[in-house]
Amino acid sequence: MVGRRLATALPGVVGVIVVTFLLNRALPGDPAAYFAGPAATPQAIEEIRTKLGLNRSLPEQFVLYIRDLARGDLGHSLTTGQPVVADLRARLPASLELATCGLLLALALALPLGVLAATRPGSGVDHVTRLLATTGNSLPVFFTGLVLVYVLYYLLGWAPPPLGRLEVFRTPPETVTGAYLIDSLLARDPGLFLSAAKQLILPTMTLGLAALAPITRMTRGAMLGVLASDFVRTARANGLAPRTVLYVYALRNAMLPVVTTLGLVLSFLLGVSVVVEKIYAWPGIGAYALEAVIASDYAPVQGFVLTMALVYVMLNLLIDLLYGVIDPRVQIES
């Protein structure tokens, strides 16, 4: 099943490679003019155009790009001066760590709230849940992000300064996974772990709040449906303990649509993290790609889109596999 799923994902990845290449070239920016610097003359710009290979024809540039790609070379970023692969390797873990923390926070809040709301539809808890979900859904992340910085850092001084992944005078742990929370533990440095955890708090809250709504809604809806179904009624009629009915029978069955939502939510979180990363000076790939687009730095933009496409493919694969774990029937049907 894994192999077949991977094979179906391949055409998508190829499409992504072609489309990003073309879109990038269709952008009106002129990287040579941009990088010629503040005292550019037309000759200087021409020299740079040649250096960057931008004077070649489009098919030629594409063939060169594919050849490099096959060798695992995504090109050089002009804005950081580093190979794009190195940049992405350094930055993807930062984004994933943040998005995962946001998702976990959202789950920790949304699942209980959703279940609670579903078991008492129309009650006060239900209304509060709905209010919370609507709020989280309707506030743009840049707004919640800035409000959190303003209130929790600027006014109250509770949260640490929005200065990226670590406090100023800390040096990052030795890279194993790239996630500071894990790497600092592997390095047996609790102080560093705490520092990284503190820096994560505000951005995690921002992302968690944004992801709250869809998960809560989906949990509540799915639970309502399942609780009203025949097998739950039968289970109850047979005198099973309410707790067993709720968790063993109802929740497990309600998890399927929730897990589908999780895939979407994580993708959404990686998307909005562009904004969150900007506010919290988080060195993730979202901020990186944005910077590159502004500078018409092609290589990182292509690398970013390709990486994101691969992450999505992996994510969807993971979710498909999770289906099988939660509901064995899915495996049989496929």
Partner: protein
């Protein structure tokens, strides 16, 4: 029905919130001799000679490398300190003299100077560095050429510690141009070790590494995140800096940067919107210093090559219709020096009395429009760089309003930042808002870039006038101070008559810092010089 596990989940969520509350900023330790600077962006490279060296690279170069010469300092009327472009002082060169016939200059290098890795600094390093600057092409080569430094043959090693530059021509910018960030001295022994047959100048290695002998070393550089500097305790080319360590963190959000400086977590903040600096200055618990950027000008450019603005009367009409005062106020909230003449206020030749356009004069503007080839007005577009919309947009709207009063209907055209320079290079935009600044504070240097028909990228108005060219070319190499002053007056008058660019204001280099910081110096490259800073 109150299951245990969701209680646990809610409790853990609450615990997370509480831990937020307990996360008290905990970096009081180790801060007295360390400086935290927050900026919007960071360097793209460590090598000022490389492709894509941005403004922040000037800053790295300035602190990490030495030059032969540097500039003196002066105190400004408001008490702040600025570099002094009229005074050259020793840095790596202990002394220097012109040959008696004035065709060369000889430098004697410090004998005790060492690069960061301990290698002695020699004249061979100087030659290698200068050869590199004039050979690699692009920005460094053009900057060297601005001071008539063009060929490797000009640079002669006399001995390990003496070095000569042969002049191609008498150029008063030759010596001042040695004190800008480009002609820095590289550790050529170290650099050559990383050169390859296809990369003789070690461009690839020096992009990510430094090979300097300046007051600071780069301890770590994480592109897009931070640059950490540590003092070079063996620095000999000047007094030992007070600050031991400098962390420059990139914080892209202006709101976050402002919060950091106001909370006292950052020591110095750069790149805030003008309005923030105005408010911070008013609050009074931070030091806010704004210096009008030398030889810089925000201007309205009118395309002198394409109709309708090829008609000089139309351009003059626009000059008379310009509501300069309102535009400047709306864009900079008072943090700028308004300009009526096309010369910056702290540049030689500045005389606001020369301008006939000091006040908006609509009747004159309308009369000129009536005499022009376009008595009934026309439609046009007004373009600006959307990357600086906070400043540019209010200016564009006020300008659009004023143009309408004299029959010109301008559509506003916001050009995305990445496209802007390309759009300027095509030189077909009729009206633009743009800014230009020259490192060297000489009016003819500005005019050479902006209004000379050699047509550099910055002659955005496509202005071409043999009369102007002649005046600039003569003034560049004029040695007689009295004649020079006349020439400057003359080319300013030509610019005022032909009005290809209408000056608006001189932008301000603003910086906010904690009261405990002193010793800030304004530099033409608009980067922070850590060497003079003191933290109490």
């Amino acid at each position: 029905m109150r299951p245990q596990w969701w209680k646990a989940a809610i409790l853990s969520a609450i615990a997370l919130l509480i831990s937020t509350a307990m996360a008290i900023p905990s970096f009081s330790q180790d801060r007295s001799d360390t400086l935290l600077v927050v900026t919007e962006g960071g360097p793209y490279s460590m090598d000022i000679h490389g492709v894509g060296a941005n403004f922040q690279v000037y800053g790295v170069t300035w602190n990490v490398y030495d030059r032969l010469l540097t500039y003196g300092k002066k105190t400004m009327p408001d008490g702040s300190v600025s570099y002094d472009y009229t005074k050259l002082e020793p840095e790596l060169a202990q002394r220097w003299w012109l040959s008696s016939d004035g065709t060369s200059v000889t430098f004697v290098l410090r004998k005790d100077a060492r690069f960061h890795d301990g290698t002695p600094v020699t004249a061979h390093d100087v030659k290698w560095s200068f050869d590199r600057a004039v050979t690699v092409g692009g920005f460094p080569t053009f900057q060297m050429n601005a001071g008539s430094l063009e060929k490797p043959e000009q640079f002669v090693v006399l001995s390990d510690h003496s070095f000569r530059i042969n002049f191609l021509r008498k150029d008063k910018l030759t010596l001042p141009n040695l004190a800008v960030p480009v002609p820095v001295i590289f550790n050529s022994t170290l650099a050559k070790r990383h050169a390859t047959p296809t990369d003789l100048w070690a461009m690839a290695w020096l992009r990510n590494n430094t090979a300097g002998g300046g007051a600071y070393k780069v301890e770590s550089w994480r592109p897009g995140q931070e640059t950490v500097y540590v003092r070079n305790d063996d620095w000999k080319s000047g007094p030992l800096p007070k600050i031991r360590r400098v962390v420059v963190r990139e914080v892209p959000s202006a709101g976050s940067r402002r919060a950091l400086i106001e909370r006292g977590d950052a020591d110095i903040v750069l790149d805030l919107p003008a309005r923030d600096f105005v408010e911070l200055a008013r609050q009074g618990n931070l030091t806010v210093i704004g210096t009008p950027v030398e030889n810089a000008m925000m201007y309205v450019g009118l395309n002198a090559k394409h109709p309708p603005f090829s008609d000089v009367r139309v351009r003059q009409a626009v000059a008379y219709a310009l509501p300069r005062k309102r535009i400047v106020e709306a864009a900079t909230f008072g943090r700028s020096a308004p300009l009526v003449t096309p010369v910056a206020s702290n540049t030689f030749g500045y005389d606001p009395k020369m301008s006939p356009y000091t006040m908006q004069n609509l009747s004159k503007a309308k009369a000129l429009m009536a005499q022009s080839g376009f008595p009934n007005g026309f439609d046009t577009t007004l373009s600006f760089n959307a990357g600086f919309a906070a400043t540019n947009e209010p200016m564009a709207i006020l300008l659009q309003e004023a143009l309408r009063l004299i029959g010109i209907n301008a559509t506003i055209n916001k050009v995305p930042g990445a496209v802007w320079r390309g759009a300027l290079l095509r030189k077909d935009l009729p009206v633009i808002l743009n800014v230009f600044s020259g490192w060297l504070n000489y009016p003819e240097y500005f005019y050479l870039w902006v209004l000379h028909s050699q047509n550099s990228a910055f002659n955005t108005s496509s202005y071409q006038s043999p009369e102007m060219d002649k005046l600039i070319d003569v003034a560049r190499f004029e040695t007689d101070q009295k004649r020079y002053a006349e020439q400057v007056r003359e080319f300013i008058n030509v610019a005022l008559r032909d009005v290809p660019i209408l000056p608006l204001f001189q932008p301000s280099m603003d910086v906010a810092m904690q009261k405990s910081i002193s010793g800030y110096t304004y530099w033409f490259h608009r980067q922070i010089d850590f060497r003079s800073l003191v933290k109490n």
